[in-house]
Amino acid sequence: MRILSRALSGGLAAAVGLAMAVSMASAGTLDDVRQRGHLICGINTGLVGFAAPDDKGVWKGFDVDVCRAVAAAVFGDANKLRYKNLTGKTRFTALRSAEIDMLSRNTTWTFSRDVDLQLTFVGINYYDGQGFMAPKKLGVKSAGELAGASVCIQTGTTTELNLADFFRANNMKYEPVPIETNAEARTNYLAGRCDVYTTDRSGLAATRAATDNPDDHVVLPEIISKEPLGPLVRHGDDQWADIVRWSLNAMIAAEEMGVTSKNVKEMASKENKNKEVNRLLGVEELQGRERLGLSKDWAVNIIAQVGNYGEVFEKHLGKKTPIGLDRGLNAQWTDGGLIYAPPFR
């Protein structure tokens, strides 16, 4: 009966006509993407500042723009792109089974994910860390004073483990309240179900910004974990990994060199003093570019259509947005941050 049921349901689903897109994972992701005509990028199901639909239903955000940059590099058009919304549970399965071409979903680069899950992290687009937020009227100044507190956690990742390690190391008791979604965790925190809310500091800033009076809440100074977030691809296709890696690097380098979406067309049309700018923008030949299968103006397309790293940061996370994050660790290395692109040479 089970064979019948399988055959029937499978057959029915096919008969109903929805695309039974049986695709074989092949070595050339770039060829697959080109042939398909669009990039498939895995993103969050909704995370303030990183991925959320706007009023017109277009996905926007810091992570989304990494996908758009890759699409711009490959196709010269940042909109040749489809999104798959993934949860913390489904994201790696989707990437490994070739359901998506790349994953840009605030994913922390860890040893076991890189090695054991056989994924390639191509870089870091945001340096995050787990922190705490508490109401100001609680009078807590540091995380060391949280003994006995109820802590709301957004689950699904390493958050619970970091928290357990922190409280154990400091020999304090606490009550964990693990919650799947940011919206629910926020509701719990604001209703006073928990004393403190813990998640990545970018998430804390976003949640704080969305309260009726952000000044009533403080983000505590302690950072209890390192969360380097970055885009990733499957093991085994170095050409594709290089494309994603250097698309991200192009955005970072462009900021460092002062190339913006406004001036990129002009700078690309003339000889610049800075030789690296020339190589980046295709004014001079960048050795090995053809090997990646990219056009001469690939970086120009990224910067013109998506923007450089700093522009993207300001647009989605920066001071002018409701989230209002400082650059902090995510400033260019020249400004004392950690954002640093290898040279284009």
Partner: protein, 373 residues
């Protein structure tokens, strides 16, 4: 009327005009007395109920209507205008709640599919539909037609399954789930009644296993492990995987509803069919199944309502059903924090559609019990 005419001898027997009812037993007062104040206990109950309704209704009207904000650009904007519900978030995002991320210029397709659902359903649900036999062919073709309209191909631009969301996704899950599970459910029900031991045991095992585990575990299987059970490298759409699981799930429940119908037919029908020398399939197809299905329809409608409500669980594996859209909308920094409004809006939608369906099921039950049985 054959009242003994003792009251007034001036009327001939049986001709006495109707007297007015005793005061306080008819009209508004009488109704109140009979239904609300018939005893001390009843009166107390009435007052408690009135108080409950008053408290609830005034608070609800305040929040829902009087203090609510209907037009605003963001949550902060809403809070400046009033303390009630911020319906602006629904008003701005209503398209996403209905269609998900279906391209705006193609939205006539799901709308047309939805409109066509009614002529396709009518002959199945109401047996007095005009031109019923012709329309039934249309009903049969509807699943393929609807799938083509929504997905595209053959002349229509293809819309990928990632774009389906909101109530559109709920409808897709519900309708596909029930249509695809119908044949499977019937087969399972027949298999459960089968004389063949192996077939019976397999069917019972399947039905009991599927009914014994929560839908959410089946959805987890669809989202994380189904690929392991297929040849290496096979990869197909998450929505299809979910639809397969939902179909299997619904089939097990449907099988039980159909079994109820099969058991409700009188034994004589089976025996009569046997005595005519009909083969098993002829007997089933011509005699028992049509009767059983008719009896089982209310139960099947209930399975459908359950499936329709349970489709909200797909949010947990990352599909953008109404709850998933709500999650995504709330992730927009402008609207972050308006979960009550979105949940209530979704609850209202589900309530209205499920209520309509359960009314239908009740009406049908009533008809069946007075009709041909």
């Amino acid at each position: 009327m054959s009242l003994p005419a003792t009251a007034s001898p001036t009327y001939p027997p049986g001709q006495h005009p109707d007297l007015p009812p005793p005061p306080g037993s008819a009209g508004v007062v009488g109704w109140l007395r009979a239904n609300l104040f018939s005893s001390v206990f009843n009166t107390a109950l009435t007052f408690v109920s009135v108080w409950l309704i008053y408290e609830f209704v005034t608070a609800a009207i305040d929040w829902f209507v009087l203090e609510a904000v209907w037009e605003a650009g963001s949550r902060v904007d809403c809070r400046k205008q009033g303390d009630g519900a911020c319906w602006a978030v629904i008003a701005t995002r209503v398209d996403q709640f209905v269609y998900g991320f279906y391209p705006a210029d193609q939205r006539w397709r799901p709308v047309l599919t939805f409109v066509l659902l009614f002529p396709a359903l009518a002959p199945v649900l109401f047996d007095r539909t005009p031109y019923r036999s012709q329309l039934l062919w249309f009903s049969l073709a509807y699943p393929a037609l609807g799938a083509w309209l929504i997905h595209g191909g053959l002349g229509l631009p293809v819309v990928d399954t990632d774009a389906y969301g909101g109530f559109l996704l709920t409808m897709i899950l519900g309708v596909t789930g029930i249509v695809a599970s119908l044949p499977l459910g019937i087969l399972l029900a027949l298999g459960r009644q089968s004389q063949l031991l192996v077939v019976r045991v397999l069917c019972v095992t399947f039905i009991e296993v599927v009914r014994g585990v929560p839908l959410i575990t089946l959805l987890f299987i669809a989202s994380t492990m189904l690929n392991y059970f297929l040849p290496p490298g096979t990869n197909f759409d998450l929505l299809i995987r979910v639809l397969i699981m939902v179909t299997l799930f619904a089939a097990a429940y449907l099988a039980e509803a159909v079994r109820g119908g099969l058991q409700a037919i009188s034994r004589g029908q089976y025996e009569a069919a046997d005595s005519l020398g009909l083969s098993y399939w002829k007997k089933t197809w011509l005699i028992t199944l049509p009767q059983a299905l008719k009896i089982a329809i209310p139960g099947m409608v209930n399975v459908f309502i359950g499936l329709y409500k349970d489709s909200t669980l797909v949010v947990i594996i990352g599909l953008l059903d109404p709850l998933g859209v709500a999650r995504a909308v709330l992730a927009d920094a402008k609207w972050n924090g308006l979960s009550n409004e979105t949940y209530l809006f979704i609850a209202l939608f589900f309530f209205m559609s499920c209520f309509a369906m359960s009314r239908y099921s009740l009406w049908l039950e009533g008809r069946l019990s007075v009709g041909d049985r």
